[in-house]
Amino acid sequence: MTHVKVLGSGCTNCKVTAQLIADVARAKGVAVTVEKVEDIRDIMAYGVMSTPGVVIDERVVHMGGVPTRAKVEGWID
């Protein structure tokens, strides 16, 4: 089970990112949990300055803006 965290203060782009990851996972039939991390201290703990950031299994894979669908597909196998 892949655990995905979306870091961001709850802006539209963060919601879009979380939704996109959930959609891609469903389309690929992969079980993932998507968690939204909105507390600023928790976000800073990952060293992310530009949100939304994406953390997969505790590794930061993306920051600053909504990722492309192709990029998301590359994360989820």
Partner: protein
């Protein structure tokens, strides 16, 4: 069909040729807009040289012109942004001396990708890496205020002079306000937990992007930004078209003209509680300007709407104590006032 697929793949396989081809196509289209608008109006059943014809021609020329300009500029800025990530900018600013640092921070604020929802993490990230407080503020003031959308719309609708004045004065406000805040030694007015965050070493990270990636970044910005602002642009230009044809000149001259000392403070006072993006404010700016409001007053109004907003201050309250937020607002507002008056006096 094969041609369509080839064209779609071109940015990835032949990025240079794609870029050259796009520039040529863009220029040819841009240059032929005026003739095209005139031709379409000549086909319509309206009397030539009438008010209605004037308004329609203005709209048919200005709307595609501004949208085309915006698409071009946002595409280029999306590519430029891919060189300046927040991490790289932070590494450039960490440990800078004040003065030079404020100038650099304001200019980096223009080219670094910035979304207002990232203001707080960015602020903490800068402070953690040892970017001085005043320099951090110079960046945070310039980043939303002096942006490519505002500059392009000003250029497209009011010309090069107004756009470059906005650029120069916006940078000046950001540099000066940041410098003053830095002089005031207000580090103790950061929230305690921010000051207790562990220090980090700023590192730029490697830039492994190739031209095709930067083109993709440009496309992404066009989708995101132009996709969001085009309705505002059309509304703005429609208002402009009506004014162009119907409203008498100097309608607003007495209220917001250069003559009265209180017009600039009034404009700033009205501007602060308003919260909208650069594209949303342009229709209002256009309406004010064409009815005879003074340029300095209008630019001051525009800067205060974009740079100072209540929601942003509420977000910043998470990391700053009230006294620092009040100082920030007061310093930036004074800077904008100064700029507005200077402008009205000089022109």
């Amino acid at each position: 069909m094969n041609a369509v697929i080839a064209l779609q793949k071109m940015p990835h396989y032949r990025p240079r040729s794609f870029l050259a081809l796009s520039v040529v196509l863009w220029l040819v289209t841009y240059k032929s807009l005026a003739a095209l608008a005139e031709w379409i109006v000549s086909l319509l059943p309206v009397t030539a040289d009438s008010r209605l014809a004037g308004s329609i021609e203005f709209f048919l020329y200005d709307a595609p012109k501004v949208l085309l300009l915006l698409t071009g500029v946002v595409m280029v800025m999306g590519m430029v942004n891919s060189y300046f990530t927040a991490e790289r900018t932070r590494a450039l600013l960490a440990g800078r001396r004040e003065g030079v640092g404020n100038v650099l921070a304001a200019m980096l604020g223009v080219v670094t990708p910035f979304c207002s929802c990232s203001a707080v993490p960015l602020f903490i990230g800068f402070v953690q890496a040892g970017v001085p407080l005043g320099i951090t503020f110079s960046f945070l003031i310039a980043a939303p205020m002096v942006n490519e959308v505002a500059l392009t719309l000003l250029f497209g609708l009011f010309g090069l002079r107004v756009a470059s004045l906005y650029l120069g004065l916006g940078l000046a406000v950001a540099m000066l306000a940041g410098w003053v805040i830095g002089r005031a030694n207000m580090e103790s007015y950061l929230e305690d937990w921010v000051r207790e965050m562990p220090r980090v070493q700023a590192s730029a990270g490697k830039d492994e992007l190739v031209l095709a990636d930067r083109l993709d970044a440009g496309f992404a910005s066009v989708r995101e930004i132009v996709g969001k602002v085009w309705p505002y642009v059309l509304v703005g230009i429609s208002i402009g078209a009506v004014i162009h044809g119907y409203v008498p000149e100097n309608f607003m001259a007495r209220l917001m003209g250069g003559g009265s000392w209180w017009s600039v403070p009034l404009a700033v006072l009205i501007g602060v509680p308003m919260y909208t993006n650069a594209a949303g404010i342009i229709p209002i700016v256009e309406a004010l300007l064409s009815k005879g409001a003074a340029l300095g007053t209008v630019l001051a109004f525009m800067m205060s709407v974009i740079a100072l907003s209540l929601p942003e201050m509420i977000i910043l309250r998470k990391v700053l104590k009230v006294r620092l937020i009040a100082t920030f607002a007061a310093v930036v507002a004074s800077g904008i006032l100064l700029v507005g008056h200077l402008f009205n006096a000089v022109l």
